[in-house]
């Protein structure tokens, strides 16, 4: 099929009207043809517009609750695989038993070690400088945690109940390492740390990520901060001031 013929399929494609053979051809072609992707992007709002042409019909009242009930009953998604199923009792990190510091340190160090190994592996992807800088950061994080003399532990907010983490501060290096795990993985999901100083000043920092472990190195004693939050953002969009908070650490009360 010629390129013109393929381009001519774009209209049928956005209407979901292509037959199986044309569909296969066109989708395979789309992967490598920016012109046809632009054509699809150009026509897709028309299909969206057609969906607005319908007479308003009121859905049954119970449909909303049925959808939510079905969603809750869904098995955990793959990015949560391995987590304990929800139980009536509080998650283990919320139970009133203090983590022994060596255990917390060990868990944290192991998580960073996994990240280090993973980052090392990513060097084969070709982006050597990024991998190297991540590796340096991971080593810095390990160093801070190995020498840390103050720890904060925390769990996720209601919208990220599977998340947990540690913040370690080393007086010797004068730096802190924030490590968070259990945050969901998604192609477009990015996380940022929002720091609020005692003077109310806010600064936002990008967090390093590998799978669902994330870390950030902070200069200075974190207890000088009023609050530290990990917030959800979307790739390629600027940080939004009202982005949802998944980790909220009140450092003054710790």
């Amino acid at each position: 099929m010629s390129h013109d013929e393929l381009t001519g399929l774009a209209a049928g494609y956005v209407l979901s009207a292509l037959d199986a053979d044309d569909l296969k051809l066109f989708e395979a072609h789309l992967v490598s043809c920016a012109e046809c992707r632009a054509s699809v992007a150009d026509l897709r709002p028309l299909a969206d517009g057609l969906s607005r042409m319908t007479e308003d019909a009121e859905p049954p009242f119970a449909l909303r609750e049925r959808i939510i009930a079905s969603a809750i009953a869904e098995p955990k998604r793959t990015d949560h695989a391995g987590e304990a199923p929800p139980e009536n009792k509080a998650p283990w990190w919320r139970r009133p038993v203090l983590w022994p510091l060596p255990v917390a340190a060990l868990i944290t160090a192991l998580a960073v070690a996994v990240a280090v190994v993973s980052v090392w592996g990513s060097q084969t992807d070709g982006n050597l400088s990024t991998a190297q800088s991540r590796l340096d950061l991971a080593y810095d994080g390990l160093e801070i945690m190995a020498q840390a003399d103050r720890w904060w532990r925390f769990s996720g907010t209601d919208i990220a109940s599977g998340a947990a983490g540690s913040l370690a501060y080393s007086t010797e290096t004068g730096t802190a390492c924030l490590l968070v795990w259990g945050l969901p993985e998604g192609d477009q999901t990015v996380y940022q740390a929002r720091l609020t100083g005692a003077d109310g000043q806010v600064s936002v920092h990008k967090m390093w990520r590998y799978n669902n472990a994330m870390w950030l190195i902070l200069d200075g004693d974190p207890s000088r901060l009023e609050r530290l939050e990990v917030t959800l953002s979307i790739k390629d969009l600027p940080p939004a001031p009202d982005s949802p908070t998944l980790i909220d650490i009140s450092l003054t009360s710790s």
Binding site: D19, A41, I67, Q188, A240
Partner: protein, 191 residues
Amino acid sequence: MEELTDEVLLQLLHVGNENALGALYDRYGKSAFSLSFRMLGNVQAAEDAVQEAFINIWRRSGSFSTARGTARTWIMAVVHHRSIDIGRKRRGIAPRELPLELERLPEDPSDTWSEVSNKMDGELLRRCLQQIPDNQREAIELAYFDGFTQREIAELRGIPLGTVKGRIRIGMAKLRGILQETGLGGSTDEP
């Protein structure tokens, strides 16, 4: 939740927040049901289609990308496809392959019509659609609202497949041109 954008709600869905699903349903449930009811002509079937669509969105929200289109476009595409599936099943027609619903397509930097899509209202589009020749409009409606493939439309109307393809292609291009004349965005290098 009302103040959060669709994109943030989709991210919250990915985190497993059912309140975000409720908020998204509050925004698009009625449009979704209206489309599905228009396609299926049956309340129960439309309910099933909308429920399946929203569960699908719940499962796959993490793969949504603004670089491939708006959240509404994606949600309505999922609803459209589930309605086609259910409609075919109800009519005893074999299920068919449907296009990828945005998330697996390569990303492109911009969607030229994303703003247009948000401004477009049904009444305006209905008026624009009335301005294209009947046979082109019919082909577009049979494809979109009745879920027929181009080949099925050709068989249904007893005309060559190439004619159906041409009617859909030219009809959509004309529709786009008419919309542009109304002052709604997009470039002007198309027929």
